[in-house]
């Protein structure tokens, strides 16, 4: 008798668990895999789940924004994801195809506290992280800390420069900075002066396609200087015990923007909006900036001075404004100049 009731109880357990699960909304978040996933899960996703036990976040990692767009396109008829974090240029394409829901103060109140450049009428989502281009170098090979992009053209660094070249937006960003410094006309002139300014750098370049990323060859000394993104450079700097160092060039830098987006027709729309609101709130923004050194997009995020100094927050005056959506329209033209003028100089 006793044994029988115990068996019945055990048999009923899965059903009890299932009914508890039914009350828990499962939100699928699609964002970058790798170190971004690790840090974002610890800094934002887990604290959110602790504060909202009724919502479970499943983080589905993807290696790049294009694959996220591919998945969103394939699932347009019946979306599986609720929230997507991706590069702003890709989110523009997704917006134009009607894949995302517009985010504003009405469905996500924390939008009101975002920096003005975190919002754009052309895209459905809003900025969730600001990153920026930095010059990176191996501090054991290069003793005197470089400050200017001129170091990339220094004959002492011949064959030692690693630049993720066009069509990667890091190479494109470098062209945009050089265009500005040399008095170019930006988008209107298809960054021609910026491409021309690559001429003294090109002969120094060892690889235009560093693998697995630009940080690894610089840390292991295969290359000694290059360009990369600030957040990953800061993380790699710590991981390499300061071997890799990053500096915002004296010529200035540009922002790379990741947007957070609500999928149209998402299975858990309400819970997803709640998560997006949290991700844009001061607490999550502070936590992720202090974990991975992406600049916060919420103006009220109380970021510690130590972390802020490792982002572009204290160098805003050196940041060159970029309209990534306008840039996308002249990208092919820049690519053509790049192949004609830059690559032949670096055979």
């Amino acid at each position: 008798m006793n044994r029988r009731s115990l068996l019945c109880g055990v048999a009923a357990l899965p059903f009890l668990a299932a009914s508890a699960m039914a009350q828990q909304a499962t939100v699928t978040l699609v964002a970058y895999s790798g170190i971004f996933q690790d840090r974002y899960t610890a800094a934002v996703v887990e604290p959110f789940m602790k504060a909202n036990p009724d919502i479970k976040i499943v983080y589905a990692g993807a290696p790049n924004s294009a694959q996220m767009l591919g998945a969103a396109r394939a699932q347009k008829a019946s979306p599986q994801a609720d929230v997507v974090i991706m590069d702003i240029a890709v989110s523009k394409a997704a917006t134009d195809e009607g894949l995302f829901e517009k985010i504003d103060e009405k469905n996500v109140p924390n939008v009101a506290d975002l920096y003005p450049n975190a919002r754009s009428p052309d895209i459905a989502g809003v900025a969730v992280t600001f990153d920026n281009l930095v010059m990176i170098y191996n501090s054991e090979a290069i003793k005197k800390a470089p400050t200017s992009l001129a170091a990339l053209a220094d004959p002492a660094n011949k064959g030692q420069v690693a630049i993720p070249g066009f069509p990667d937006i890091q190479g494109l960003s470098l062209v945009m900075i050089l265009d500005k410094v040399n008095g170019g006309g930006g988008v209107a002139s298809k960054f021609e002066k910026g491409v021309d300014a690559m001429a003294p750098i090109a002969p120094n370049v060892q690889t235009w396609d560093p693998k697995p990323d630009v940080y690894t060859p610089i840390i292991n000394g295969q290359a000694t200087i290059g360009i990369g993104w600030n957040a990953r450079s800061q993380v790699n700097s710590d991981a390499s015990g300061g071997k890799l160092k990053a500096v915002i060039p004296s010529e200035g830098s540009v922002f790379q923007i990741n947007t957070i987006n609500l999928v149209k027709g998402a299975p858990q729309a309400a819970a997803a909006a709640k998560f997006v609101n949290y991700a844009l709130g001061p607490e999550a923004q502070k936590a992720f900036t202090e974990s991975m050194f992406y600049g916060p997009t919420n103006a009220k995020a109380p970021v510690s001075e130590a972390a802020a100094a490792r982002t572009a927050l204290r160098s805003i005056d050196r940041m060159i404004p970029v309209d990534w959506i306008a840039v996308a329209k002249v990208r092919d033209a820049v690519g053509e100049q790049w192949r004609r003028k830059v690559l032949p100089l670096s055979r």
Binding site: N64, A66, Q67, L69, R73, A89, V90, K92, A93, A94, T95, D96, E97, G159, G165, P167, D168, I169, Q206, T207, W208, D209, K211, G221, Q222, I325, A328, K329, R331, D332, G335, E336, R339, L343, S346, R347
Partner: protein
């Protein structure tokens, strides 16, 4: 129970046996390929957004921009060079293996196949370690007082890396095609007064041609479609169809152009197959 019964059932049985492979191919090859074909006629925005409109611009653009014809020529040329190099490196090994017997043959065969157990990514990184500026070859050159050479992040590196990676395929294809090669024919040639070189050119090589053609077709197709090795060893300087398709699809987000280029690769494959079929009949 008549003798004709199995023959009559033959075609039906063959069809039944072919259905699974046809179904698999229809699902994972013909259907996606058809979708790619459709995609190549879709008009995309500069931002990467796809529209509902159709256009021929993706195809006409290939002819208007000389970059794409150069891309096609360089892809085919580099693949041919890789195929030739692979053949030259593999032929003696395959011939030796063909003649080896017993345990020696088994051990050597395992050695030939064993690189296939490691992924091409790992083997490519191996080449980076060997060929990079501070790598094995350049350290040796420096020790001998010679100037260091740039061996990777250019066409040379891609050719060398891919040739090594494709060697097992070439050797296996050659071995499969060496069936008609009988050691007694060489002995016969020798007794009739042929010098070893003559015997090779007049007897061994012609008899091994089916294997050579099969191996070349296989390596050419694998080289044209290879992506990881050119990406890792090309340093952004070597432009091939496969790497350009990746860039257009993943970085520039121009899916219609990527689809068009994929169709071009398919056409190159078709031509290679047609050439092979023609050569095999001769």
């Amino acid at each position: 129970m008549s003798a004709g019964a199995p023959g009559a059932r033959g075609p039906m049985l063959a069809v039944a046996l072919l259905i699974p492979i046809f179904a698999v191919n229809a699902l994972v090859f013909f259907w996606p390929t058809f979708n790619l074909f459709k995609m190549s006629f879709i008009r995309g925005e500069a931002t990467g957004a796809l529209t509902d409109e159709t256009t021929l611009a993706n195809w006409t653009g290939l002819f208007r921009d000389s970059f794409y014809s150069e891309l096609l020529v360089s892809s085919v040329t580099i693949s041919l060079v890789i195929t030739a190099l692979t053949l030259v490196l593999s032929y003696p090994i395959a011939l030796y293996l063909h003649r080896a017997r017993g345990l020696r043959r088994t051990v050597l065969l395992v050695l030939v196949i064993s690189p296939l157990l490691t992924s091409a990514v790992v083997r490519t990184y191996g080449w980076i370690a060997i060929l990079s500026d501070g790598g094995l070859v350049n350290s040796l050159l420096k020790a001998l007082g010679l100037p260091a050479q740039r061996l990777i992040f250019n066409t040379q590196g891609v050719v060398l890396g891919l040739a090594e990676i494709l060697m097992p395929y070439m050797i296996l294809a050659l071995l499969a095609g060496f069936g008609r090669l009988d050691a007694r024919l060489e002995e016969a040639a020798a007794t009739l007064g042929a010098r070893p070189r003559q015997a090779f050119w007049r007897v061994v090589l012609p008899l091994s041609l089916p294997g050579v053609m099969l191996g070349c077709l296989l390596c050419f197709v694998l080289a044209v479609s290879s992506f990881i090795t050119p990406k890792l060893l090309g340093g952004g300087r070597v432009f091939l169809l496969a790497t350009e398709i990746y860039d257009q699809a993943i970085v520039t987000l121009n899916w219609p152009l990527a689809a068009t280029l994929s169709m071009v690769v398919l056409i190159v494959f078709g031509l290679a197959l047609a050439l092979y079929a023609r050569a095999a009949r001769l």
